[in-house]
Symmetry: D2
Subunit: 365 residues, 4 copies
């Protein structure tokens, strides 16, 4: 009810604040018998951790994960898996001057209004740091989906401010600091310069991220409210700073005719994927494709008008260590959320329909 648990059958309950003693989560519903250790989880955490390039926050957090439960002799037991990440680099003094002030674009005003109290240190519970436990949990989901169905995830930045990033291949995303799916050195340098200029201005920028899942089994999703795409939209819009979500053709569908949009079917499979891998809320077996819009970071040096908690007008300039484009680190997070949704629906499907694998119609003959 209080919104700190994600999922229905594969659930992730997170806890922690940016500058409290620790963050972490409890993962419930993981099937028993899967090999699991910290080595399966740490690499995903490393992909999203801060301090990896000059374009992201310089906060130093090793984000070392400890498995506290649910694993015996290297295998999951079917009981809850608790992950613990101790906070280390908590320079709370950086935030001292904003304790009584509502930073524009931030959750300060709404938390204070809702609860009558808020933990201002580093954004408290609303910090993007809280995506770390989820990325850890998703590493477990990814491993299970990979073993069970061969499911794989990719993702990257397809737009940075007004710079479009034409898709060249997912393999490029590991070779640049933006998770950009391009090997175009000129474009990448332009992105670097763009970020450097922004940082100099003390300003920030938005981004568009695309994520994709391959080898998704047919039949995941529920028909009315927990449609696969509805749950994906929920998962994505829940990521900090996301303001828009598209599945498949997304907003392009508005200007499409039905004779163009509806993906035809042949003995070789679907022709096109405007559906983004979901029809009627249920996976088609095609790639699940999702795009999200990420707003510019709200913590900027540019002075802005606001109020303090007494209603007095103030001018806010946010110093400290911030990502000038939160979208840069969003790719592993968006992949993680997609993995959690698929994992949950895989178990839900199994509950209702059993382990039966549907007949493959696509003989190609």
């Amino acid at each position: 009810m209080s919104g700190n648990t994600f999922g229905t059958l594969f659930t992730v309950t997170t806890f922690g604040e940016s500058h409290g003693p620790a963050i972490g989560c409890v993962i419930d519903g993981c099937p028993p018998g899967m090999a699991l250790s910290e080595a399966d989880i740490q690499p995903e955490l490393d992909r999203r951790k801060p301090g990896t390039s000059r374009h992201v926050t310089q906060r130093q957090e090793p984000d070392l994960v400890e498995i506290l439960s649910g694993v015996y002799q290297g295998k999951t037991t079917g009981t809850p898996i608790a992950l613990l990440i101790r906070n280390q680099d908590q320079r709370s003094k950086d935030y001292g001057n904003i304790t009584d002030t509502f930073r524009p674009g931030h959750a300060d005003f709404t938390y204070w209004s809702k609860y009558g109290i808020r933990d201002p240190r580093g954004g408290g519970r609303s910090s993007a740091r809280l995506t770390a436990p989820v990325v850890g949990a998703a590493a477990i989901a990814k491993k299970w989906l990979k073993q069970k169905f061969g499911t794989e995830f990719s993702g990257g930045m397809t737009q940075l401010g007004d710079i479009q990033v034409p898709f060249q291949g997912w393999e490029h995303t590991t070779h640049n600091p933006f998770f950009a799916p391009t090997g175009d050195a000129v474009l990448l340098e332009r992105m670097e310069s763009y970020m450097d200029a922004l940082r100099k201005d003390g300003d920030s920028i938005g981004a568009r991220i695309q994520v994709l899942a391959r080898n998704v089994p047919v039949g995941l999703g529920q028909p009315i409210y927990d449609k696969l795409d509805a749950d994906i939209a929920y998962a994505m819009m829940g990521i900090n700073a996301v303001k828009g979500v598209e599945i498949g053709a997304g907003f392009e569908s508005v200007a499409q005719r039905g004779s163009v949009h509806g993906d035809e079917i042949t003995p070789h499979g679907f022709v096109g994927n405007n559906a983004g891998g979901v029809l009627g809320g249920i996976s088609t077996g095609q790639d699940i494709t999702v795009s999200i819009a990420i707003k510019p970071t709200s913590s900027i040096r540019v002075p802005r008008h606001s109020l303090d908690i007494h209603g007095n007008p103030v001018v806010v300039e946010t110093f400290g260590r911030h990502d000038p484009c939160v979208g840069i680190r969003a790719t592993p997070i968006a992949e993680a959320m997609l993995a959690l949704v698929l994992m949950d629906h895989a178990l839900r499907h199994r509950a209702q329909c059993g382990d039966v694998v549907p007949q493959n119609l696509f003989t190609g003959d």
Copy 2:
């Protein structure tokens, strides 16, 4: 788990298929003591019912709602409110020829793959007809929110295919068949011609719908997973044919700088609403603004390639009574989903924080 219940504290569990004996829902969690009768619900159902203009399906369904429980002497009792709508115009013969065929863009293939069985009559459970009970349930939520907070809802079509509809005022939406927020007679005639041409072609088109809630109390929403905007995204993407959701500035945020996007705060209130009324997952008290992309209707006369359930290639032409633009009737549905999300979060807020109203900071002095 099986995805037929919407909400957590104010829940709507729907049942029924397009051409079964009846559709309906059970609403649980409605506070006791509110005056309620069918007269509160029927008008909302009438807004979305078919057959109201030549641009929507000609199926004749009075959609008369009956309250079966939860009301005593004209007041809600706090027990479940069941709504029943008998299906009447079930011309199943219209659909007979598609029983064994997967219509492109429809849920036929995925239902069959998931369940190994599907009710093909009028789309069965995946029919847009199943939005009727939800619209009925939302009428109850709207009434409660209006009485409690003065909350009001508006919505309309802002784009039809490639025709943009510049906003002139919500009051116009009741005077044209598109829920278009415009009084521009020339534009409206162009929309009518556009639809007539489409229908002649046996094709269909997408649309963009915007909905909005005014007088939303500050503090609704949860901080991590059940963010207000995440739940709105879930609700909207769950509407049949929706492929994209935006809150506030939506995808425009991608190219915005932080110094532009973040809404400043003054003693008179927020300056701008790029946030769409939500910060950190919690309502700010501003208007909640949401846009959705609706794909073109999948049922078209244009011949399309597909398979039958045995894997044989077939050509599908869908005759019968269909909306050439499902977006036309989507406005009351999108409003309904928004109302259900707000209602649920109003009760959740009350559970955790009590009935306390936050101090109003905006003195304007």
Copy 3:
């Protein structure tokens, strides 16, 4: 949240009041492909319906059930199954004089205190009549469990007031009006006389009911909170008038030594069943055995002191049609609740552990 849905994966959401237009439920999570019609459900409803002997209420309700959804061509489709039972014999005038009075032992006082409003007609929502939809839903669960695992249910009255009913065999329960597992004609006549005397006194009496499930697969239940026995206790204590629940040896365990209580295991299986078929919250494969205590009916002719809604003292004598021992009709209800719990846990087990059947250790060699 509002407590009208039973179960987590196989859910039953009920609605209705004793004297409203109808009662019913929505069953969600039923696996697809099972043959189902009203003929599977009606016999269970007939077992618990009123008016079948002179020892139960003479209200005449055929309790005819209608399936509104979720079945196509005689098979479940995996979508929600709605059951509707129209109320017919609503002699509300019988209850007119108790509208403003709190009957001792009834929910009148608590409903009024909680909601500030209550439907007094026949007990409204708190009437035992509301067990009918659940019995209907359980008929579906029973059918599935029987087909899948061969699971079967039995139950009967083991004590009526201070009359013990020594167990002779479940087959006797269908040959007397008490569901008593005995063929002892003298005892049965004594029970009849006992009831006749009570009715003459205008008083009522309690009862003890035992129910049992055979052929339950090993491994159902969760380890900490949703233990199989915890969920059974919840289900049983939720039945109207139940004040105590025992699993296996129940309260006899208090005076047992560990060397007596703990059921030993041999290659032929367990020796004894003090556990009642559950160890550590998970089924052992033995019979699940449950006993419940049912309080005497609260509606009696004997005058009793109480208050009206204004706080004035009144004397209450309840006339009308009432069961002098609600325990008589409790057997099919208790069986139904047990079936719903097992069904839910069967699906939960499948979600987490798949369809795998555990190795049978009991070779008997």
Copy 4:
């Protein structure tokens, strides 16, 4: 779904195994603004911790609790409160010889059958040690209920084996090692001797525990499935080793007449409390009274027949540190579960009906 979360609005998600690195829980839904520190929680943990007398296990665990989140400057913030308790005295060698053996009366057989894997160290997840985090969480619930309504909890042992403990007063429970509500020195010495003899025999014994809540507001509970007493039964039966639960008169109701059982109402309040403080599933404002039956400890030295995981017959004698009567330490656990149920229902009531306090009818005039 996997049964490691207790509650619906005030939720406790636990994790950990008896001999893993740590145990703990995440508490979600705690209202903001309540003063909270470890000092509020530790005393409750100390009441149930092992090693406090010669009649309980000699395992040495300080059970020091650390709050990891959800508290800022000494007050709850409305975000999840994570509690961490590191395991210290993990003498796993004590359990080495039972790794492949199913101890009679234990969860060994069922865990192994369900999951195909189990953590045998100290009982793993099925250890009574896992009640510690819940007792910690309940300390928070108790504090809130006390501040809000003045609610208080008591409990103690009312029967040890076949020794009845006549009630003299709850204040006695802190002055003897059994939580016995008696100051009768002769009786207490008899209980000590009884336990000493049992320990010498290497055997164990059951117990009956009663718990009670005072100053419970009227109106908590839901009418059909989440009845207050149903949720209490669920909570109690979920405690390790519990085999029976009674509310109010419990199994005595079976032989009671309605004219005796139904508590009459006068302007001074209810006369008697056979109801145990619950009518129709909703609290009456009287004391909530609950009794539970706790089976004898399954870990005994007396040799017992069983199987190993290969199906071979074995003889099991369990050495190591065990409570010869698990009932001795059950009182604080049962109180904790009762507190969690009331807390959850207090928030649920507030969600649906608001903070309104019902009119007090009992003027006494």
